[in-house]
């Protein structure tokens, strides 16, 4: 850690990990409800568990992105953060808002929560991923604006690197597209159309700039490869992201009452979306291959390479699987979607966050370069357990999804939804078992922060 103010990142990272644990626990509750339908009913109905699962995911990823920004932006800009106190204050506001929201989901019925938070004044609740009460959404906007101001001012007063500019651009985009969550017309087609301006333009647009900037930063640090080379790659990757991904939004406009011509635009452009993910994989391996130093933080490098591979598999390959409109006609809104959603989110955004945390946390905790071997080995175990079990979760859901699409939509005698779900029960049990392994991996991950902290560490060696 070069600048004292970078230390605020630590708060954000710790909260992110805690929310990650909550996310997975609720994932497991839902996984069980899939097969034991009345599990915890009516105390925690499925939809409530789902809100907690997906909203904690989004919040902890935002926490991780902000933590990453507070860490890397001062370092890149070669100056202290503009207002460290503001970053700390915003952290507590954000955490309190997130905690209150999750508590609200669990303690009140959703309709009572809507009434309590006066949803009727500006109705934004009750849409997938955007379930937060309007007041929480406003809170998010305030926190993000203060955050953007803080990092923006830091960049202005310091060195302007491409990584910083791209990180800032991605985060500004995140804020801008979030504003569409306040638009909720009665017209369902329009509502759905602009809902994707938040969801798709986040994960397949501006978030990828954030991902790219974080990956480039970690790679510069652990490989020592020349910044010019890495930044050139970064620009090419993100150029391809937006060239394909903006019009690629059309792969969500096939069946929601939007015009037919979107089938062409959506299919053609989204079919090219895997290209930047593939380039990212090549890029990461290339840089590690060309490394100019042997950085002792092996596990950060592992996460960085892992994210490059898994993002390509989850977003690129599993995205391509169902992105062409003739295929999507049968798979739309099935377990295929869930399979892809899981691996893509994990591969792209969970893993890059963990890569950044893995790189920065030892430094934030006062070490010179890396955690001791004991801790790194444990973290590597957690890497493999989580990653391999996520592969299995994806495979089981894909199996379930293929059968579901066939039995319910393709076969000559289409069966009702609930009948089909019983037929594919086995896959859901297997998914739940894989989920338990994921949890073990996560427990080891948390444990890795507490072992071997008194042992000596290796130093950065030139090669």
């Amino acid at each position: 850690m070069k600048y004292k103010s970078q230390s605020v990142a630590k708060l954000y990272f710790i909260a992110a990990i805690a929310l990650f644990v909550a996310q997975i626990l609720f994932g497991l509750i839902m996984g069980l409800q899939y097969v034991v339908g009345d599990f915890l009913f009516p105390t925690i109905p499925f939809n409530v568990a789902r809100m907690v699962h997906t909203n904690t995911l989004i919040i902890w990823l935002l926490m991780a992105f902000m933590g990453a920004a507070y860490y890397l932006i001062p370092e890149e800009a070669e100056t202290e953060l503009f207002a460290p106190w503001l970053a700390t204050l915003m952290f507590w506001i954000f955490l309190a808002a997130a905690g209150a929201t999750v508590a609200g989901y669990l303690l009140f019925s959703y309709s009572d929560l809507a009434e309590l938070t006066m949803n009727e004044l500006l109705p934004t609740m009750g849409r997938e991923f955007l379930e937060q009460p309007t007041i929480t959404k406003i809170g998010i906007v305030v926190v993000v604006l203060a955050f953007l101001f803080n990092i923006g001012m830091t960049i202005l007063k310091g060195r302007k690197t491409s990584i910083n500019l791209i990180m800032l651009l991605g985060l500004v985009g995140l804020a801008v597209f979030f504003l569409f969550s306040f638009y909720n017309p009665v017209n369902v087609v329009r509502d759905k159309f602009y809902w994707w301006w938040v969801v798709h333009l986040w994960v397949e647009g501006v978030w990828e700039l954030i991902l790219g900037a974080m990956l480039a930063f970690v790679l510069i640090k652990v490989t020592g490869v020349d910044r010019e080379v890495i930044e050139k790659w970064l620009y090419i990757v993100i150029a391809m992201v937006l060239i394909t991904g903006l019009i690629g939004t059309g792969h969500h406009f096939y069946w929601i009452g939007t015009p037919d011509w979107w089938q062409w635009w959506g299919s053609i452009f989204s079919a090219m979306e895997p290209i930047p993910f593939f380039m990212m994989t090549v890029f990461a391996f290339n840089m590690v291959h060309k490394r100019r130093r042997e950085h002792p933080n092996k596990v950060a490098t592992l996460w960085a390479l892992g994210t490059a591979v898994m993002a390509f598999l989850g977003a690129g390959v599993w995205g391509f699987l169902h992105t062409l409109s003739p295929v999507n006609y049968y798979t739309h809104g099935t377990q295929i979607t869930a399979a892809h959603g899981h691996m893509a989110f994990y591969g792209a955004y969970v893993m890059i966050s963990l890569a950044m945390i893995s790189y920065a946390m030892p430094l934030l905790r006062g070490r010179n370069a890396a955690n001791p071997a004991k801790s790194q080995v444990l973290e590597m175990w957690s890497f493999w357990l989580m990653t391999v079990s996520m592969v299995f979760i994806t495979l089981f859901l894909t199996g379930a999804g293929i059968l579901q699409s066939y039995l319910q939509r393709v076969s000559d005698n289409p069966m009702p939804f609930m009948v089909v779900q019983e037929q594919i029960n086995l896959f859901y049990w297997l998914r739940e078992i894989a989920g338990l392994v994921f949890l073990i991996g996560l427990v080891l991950y948390v444990a890795s922060f507490f072992v071997g902290q008194n042992e000596p560490e290796a130093v950065v060696a030139d090669r």
Binding site: Q33, G37, E128, V186, V188, T258, D260, G333
Partner: protein, 149 residues
């Protein structure tokens, strides 16, 4: 990569390409808005029926039905698709009302369960009219593929 290809060139492709395709997305969005009236069943949203549908949408949202169900294929995958439940239930709003009203408060043992929301008759009608309105949106290739959703 060839040395002739510089970082500045990559950056220009990024800015130029992004701007171009963002403008293209805006253009396609304007065209979409122009095409909406012929498909999005907006006529249903007028008059007293329209007010009822708007009320139905509010109830749909404030009870988080999307947290278990899909609507036009978007949402959660735990419970049946509802964009065509009106047709699946024999074009009957009464059947929909009856189904929602009859959910047991403690669920159905061992089976995925839907909560009992304790709606009054007016609210049930609003929800049913909302679902009827959605079922009459003109989707491409008449998605969903068949009556099962």
């Amino acid at each position: 990569m060839a040395q002739a290809f510089t970082k500045a060139m990559a950056r220009n492709i990024f800015y130029g390409g992004s701007l171009f395709f963002f403008l293209l997305l805006l253009a396609l969005t304007f065209q979409t808005e122009a095409d909406f009236p012929s498909r999005d069943n907006r006529a249903a949203l007028e008059g007293p029926k329209g007010t009822q549908i708007a009320e139905g949408k509010r109830l749909w949202e404030e009870n988080d039905c999307i947290g278990c169900h899909t609507l036009l294929g978007e949402g959660a995958y735990f419970a049946p698709e509802l964009a065509n439940v009106y047709t699946r239930f024999g074009n009957s709003t009464d059947a929909i009302k009856g189904f929602i009203a009859s959910r047991p408060a403690d669920g159905i043992p061992g089976r995925r369960s839907m909560p009992q929301f304790n709606f009054n008759d007016e609210e049930l009608s609003a929800l049913a009219e909302f679902l009827k309105y959605v079922s009459e949106i003109k989707t491409a290739r008449n998605w969903p593929p068949n009556i099962q959703g």
